[in-house]
Subunit: 213 residues, 2 copies
């Protein structure tokens, strides 16, 4: 039940807070954390930490701080990371394959990481039937069928730029609503579909701006 629309800037910080809480829980030194310390570790001001969390409820105790375990549980719930989320990846080139390894290993090693790549798609027949980290590669024609079977609502797109829009259309038509796109193109999607762009070339180019002359 979300009363107000939470801004993207706030949502972007939630996983950072969660990561800090995971570290605090792992080190186990303290059961409580203040907005001061949480902010310091997350790279955010204490006031903003309190304001961000207050959108979702009253998780702290005045004069005391936040209970690490409790806040962790709440943040996991808010982020829907309290249960497994099946994810598809389309485009098993070197970047796609690297991401499968990266996320699958994380999933296996970390019981708190509920994002699970369960199926891969690639148009290259030579790759179909292969597995990467135990996950099978299937032909793109099977996207609608498999997405429905597996209840997939999130997908990673690592196909070449020319193929991206058509792959995304198929994914969206099949019911996928959350996309993590690595193709260097602007994608057209319905308003209820969320896209995060990881445009690595743009990021590297933007760094070049800061080269001193």
């Amino acid at each position: 039940m979300r009363l107000k629309k939470i801004s993207g800037a706030v949502v972007r910080r939630l996983p950072i807070y969660l990561r800090v809480l995971d570290e605090l829980a792992r080190d186990g030194a303290k059961e409580l954390v203040s907005s001061q310390e949480l902010g310091e570790r997350a790279g955010v001001s204490p006031a903003l930490v309190r304001k961000d969390l207050a959108w979702f409820g009253e998780f702290g105790k005045q004069g005391v701080g936040y209970d690490v375990e409790h806040l962790r549980t709440e943040l996991r719930r808010i982020l829907h990371l309290d249960r497994d989320v099946p994810v598809a990846l389309v485009g098993v080139g070197s970047l796609g394959a690297a991401l499968v390894r990266y996320f699958r290993r994380r999933y296996v090693a970390d019981p708190g990481f509920h994002l699970n790549i369960v199926v891969l798609f690639d148009a290259d027949p030579a790759k179909q039937g292969e597995t990467i980290e135990g996950v099978p590669v299937e032909p793109p024609e099977r996207i609608p069928e498999r997405v429905k079977e597996l209840g997939i609502r999130m997908a990673i797109v690592t196909v070449p730029a020319e193929a991206a829009q058509s792959v995304v259309d198929t994914l969206v038509a099949s019911g996928v609503r959350l996309l993590f796109n690595f193709a260097p193109v602007k994608l057209a999607v319905p308003k209820d579909v969320h896209i995060v762009h990881a445009d690595l070339s743009l990021e590297l180019q933007r760094l070049a701006y800061y080269l001193e002359d």
Copy 2:
């Protein structure tokens, strides 16, 4: 000569404009582009396009628009993408190797893409001496020496989280000022060092927020 400090939000949009101009130049249909069309293709309002560009000079003609080739040249210059920029990559795991392939192929295929990965470093002796896309892998001990020899001011960091801070310290001490970091940690660096974080797990986790309940 930069009179005002340009905000990060503006800098982030410059490579997007450049990409749109590259597309327009490739298609070759028009020599002129309006802030209206440039904005539409870049996903930005026309007013913001004009305001962003105006920070750097007067590139347009009233009543006419912007000359595609001229604006392209100017943006390349502003972004320091008018000449080759040598880049190092540290951490040749599957993600690092995938990025080398991705960026090297782009560099070879696209004469306008001046970001060139010229040296790789990895602590694994089994990888040292290997090459990826023709680029040699060397031991991290050689970072200071090679960075100086090659005049490197930009590096991509794809080492495990535990190793990231120490690698970054070495890079910075060797003269690197621009970092593209894929390790899921906050890094401490001097004020004159610029970091772009590509924290892929955080991005995927933030998408999960939008899973409907």
